[in-house]
């Protein structure tokens, strides 16, 4: 049995004495594609920020590559929620992607190899030719690709995306997730999302977060969990090849 890439044990976290996460324990293996789902305000983003080391737990432990997350932060590629970023900030697409090469090799100046790495990532995300555009001229889906390109420029082992498809249409979502599937061949991927229907054939595990975390390693969301009031947008996860996550009632609209 391989050592897990991310190991979370008895984790507790609260904001101003209001508990957000309680007694969370689960592991993430290498090359896993983990979907983090759950109701808004349930603690999904908080869990992700704890894994990244941006927040510190009140109790319990998180180890990534066997170390505290803040010691290995350079191995994460992070795609934050679009709404968390000042959208009217006057910055070019190139400068955003170059942030991924910040502190790369200890140099302060932007080098030719930094630019090449940035252009390569943009190319990979199908955003070549946009490098001189201002970020606020792009559509939501294009902006999301730029943020993923920035994360890829850091050459991460673990890619963490927080609701990357908010404001992206259905076709764009399908395209985005098939890109993530390609990246999953070499990288561990954690994605916070409500789009279980779209990414159902790609994910290898699901974490259902609502103050507590139910982790399903290719397993099923059982009726018990629904009874416990998890209000996850998914009610059943079915086995099969490819592994699929299904909604019982197709009436989300």
């Amino acid at each position: 049995m391989n050592e897990p890439l991310i190991s979370i044990k008895n984790l507790y976290f609260s904001y101003d004495h209001v508990p957000v996460l309680e007694n969370v324990s689960f592991n993430v293996a290498e090359k896993e594609f983990l979907a983090v789902i759950g109701p808004n305000g349930g603690g999904k983003s908080t869990l992700v920020k704890l894994i990244l080391g941006l927040l510190r737990p009140d109790a319990g432990s998180i180890l990534v590559f066997g170390k505290p997350p803040s010691r290995v932060s350079h191995r994460f590629g992070y795609v934050p929620q679009d709404v968390a970023i000042n959208r009217s900030f006057p910055i070019s697409v190139m400068d955003v992607v170059l942030l991924g090469r910040l502190r790369h090799g200890g140099k302060k100046r932007v080098t030719g190899s930094d630019r090449k790495a940035a252009l390569d990532s943009l190319d990979l995300m199908g955003m070549q030719g946009y490098e001189d555009r201002r970020i606020d001229e792009l559509s939501g889906g294009q902006r999301e690709r730029v943020f993923i390109a920035r994360a890829l420029t850091t050459d991460p082992d673990i890619l963490i995306l927080d609701e990357p498809t908010a404001g992206v249409d259905t076709a764009g979502k399908t395209e985005l997730y098939s890109l993530l599937r390609d990246l999953n061949r070499t990288k561990t991927i954690i994605v916070v999302s409500h789009d279980l229907m779209v990414m159902s054939s790609y994910v290898t595990s699901v974490a259902c977060v609502n103050q507590q975390v139910y982790y399903h390693d290719q397993g099923e969301v059982t009726g018990d969990m629904i009874d416990m009031g998890y209000q996850c947008p998914v009610e059943l996860i079915a086995h099969g090849h490819p592994h699929r996550v299904l909604k019982v009632h197709g009436d989300e609209s």
């Binding site: 941006l54 968390a84 970023i85 006057p90 910055i91 942030l99 910040l102 502190r103």
Partner: protein, 277 residues
Amino acid sequence: MIEALQFEFMRNALVAGLFASLICGVIGTFVVVNRLVFLAGGIAHSAYGGIGLALFLGIPYIIGTLAFSLGAALIMTAVTLKAAHRSDTFIGVLWAVGMAVGVILTDLTPGYNVDLMSYLFGSILAVPSAEIWWMTALGAAVLILTLVYYRDLIAISYDPEFASLRGVPVGPLYFLFMALVAVSIVFIIRVVGLILVIALLSIPPYIAEKYARSLGTMMALAVFFSMIFNVAGLWAAYVFDLSSGPCIILAAAAGFFISLAADLMLLRHRKNAFLKG
């Protein structure tokens, strides 16, 4: 204007104004994109306490204002980092306290000081040569530090969480940045006074932001606009024998309204073109 340059005070004023433009363009750009105009105003007004302290103790005004504006900047930064939702209240309080302390200390100083207006509204025409030199040194230090940490400053302005993942010390850098803002404000107080400092820090970057595709071009444009406003204001002050600080600010305000009008006309033109099809 050319014949005015034979006077040393006019040359000094021009040099100080152009140098202030460099600082306003660079630091002002960060202030505007980080939405820190109110905080910059708070630092500038609390510096008045430093002017009172300097008068009271009989020390150079620069030491008093530096001490007060740096102190205010550090407290405001600490509050902003710890409790962002309360920072506007704290800024308002420090703003008022600084001014009140300044007035009280001036009251306690024997004799009436006629020079106070020059700190409120600037006295660029009275900048002595000796002061030009250390102002230049101070300004150069601000510019060099900003350029050295340029990428880091962009990163913490745009996305502090991502910056912190890349190993950028976000907290300490934020303090450094605020200290740079405080020093810049002390510098600009000499040119346009502490009441008008906010206009010179915010108007040129605001206009520049609309036409810039990146932060770098925004800075360059802001410096350019600021230089035009400074020279135009100084020229008006010289020709019409008016106070230089308010003239510079009105020149900037004119630029502000002209750019707004130009935007509206452009918008209307585009709309008409679109409707005609």
